[in-house]
Amino acid sequence: MIIFQFLFILFSLFAIITVIKRKKDAVMSNVGTTFWIIFWMLTDVVVLFPDSTTLFANRLGIGRGSDLITYVSLAIVFFVLFRLHVKLHEIERDITSVVRKDALKDVDV
């Protein structure tokens, strides 16, 4: 086992423990807990058996499995960033709306 695999599995175990803790604190739903546990277990499989992704990559016309992982990860990261930006924008707008209502609440016409 190379150092990276060891460190990654350690990190994923930490992530899974955090997910379980959050579930115990009633912060995370059953679906969320299952999703994240499966996600981290799958990443462990990919890290332990890097060639396992090459099969999928070849079917999609991509040479190496690691390239497929990079492309998919980048796409997901950009999508999540974009969603966060939009959400933040919406929250900003809601805050403005509340602040405005508060400023106008004592106006008598």
Partner: protein
């Protein structure tokens, strides 16, 4: 009723004199104190303004829209947008209103570039660098063609006030107003106004924030 809307954020040094000078030209001066941490609201009230206070700083666009909401509530017939830092001249109000009346316009936009005399008072970086970029951005985001879209001096009549609801809290409202004028087919004119710079104002980073807000605004309701 002619209402002046003065968005103000930490403008305790100048807001008093701005309010006093405006009172001779409009029926009511409304200062929207945008979460100032100084005595802006107190000084504005003492100077004779009606004051609405934002508990948090939300930006100039948000403050103007709060002013619009107030104007709609009290049934104002015209509103004037006027900066609190004393950069505009009250002497430009009457000529602007007369031009508005003559042209039967719904919106008047002040312009620093309408005459050569006013033009030369503008810092060269704004004239040569920021203005052309600003014009391209405004064109991309669907506004009417203006020589000086990012000028805070505007007059709106009741019809425009009903149509123009600003959704951008920050400085992107300056691009949103021309876009809404075009969208609702409002009649508009530009009038020359003089601007005295006490501070440089919005620079390159501010311009980048405007573009960012305009782009993100396209993706949300």
């Amino acid at each position: 009723m002619f209402l002046a809307i003065v968005p103000a954020y930490n403008e305790s040094d100048r807001v008093g004199s701005v309010v006093r000078s405006l009172l001779s030209y409009v029926d009511t001066v409304l200062v929207v104190d945008d979460g100032s941490t100084d005595t802006t609201a107190k000084i504005a009230r003492q100077a004779g303004a009606t004051v609405l206070s934002h508990r948090l700083n939300r930006g100039q666009g948000a403050a103007l829209e709060t002013g619009h909401a107030y104007a709609r509530k009290i049934g104002a017939t015209h509103v004037l947008h006027f900066d609190a830092d004393g950069q505009f001249s009250v002497g430009d109000i009457i000529p602007a209103r007369e031009a508005m009346k003559q042209a039967k316009a719904d919106v008047v936009f002040g312009s620093r570039y309408a005459t050569e005399k006013h033009n030369l008072r503008v810092p060269w970086t704004k004239r040569v660098l920021l203005r052309p970029i600003g014009k391209i951005v405004d064109r991309l985001f669907g506004g009417v063609h203006l020589s000086d879209a990012h000028n805070g001096f505007r007059i709106l009549n009741k019809k425009a006030l009903e149509c123009i609801h600003l959704s951008h809290s920050g400085m992107a409202h300056a691009s949103e107003v021309p876009a809404l004028v075009k969208k609702y087919g409002l009649r508009y004119i530009e009038v020359p106004v003089s601007v005295t710079y006490h501070e440089y104002g919005q620079g390159v980073s501010g311009g980048i924030r405007v573009v960012r807000d305009l782009v993100l605004g396209k993706f949300s309701k």
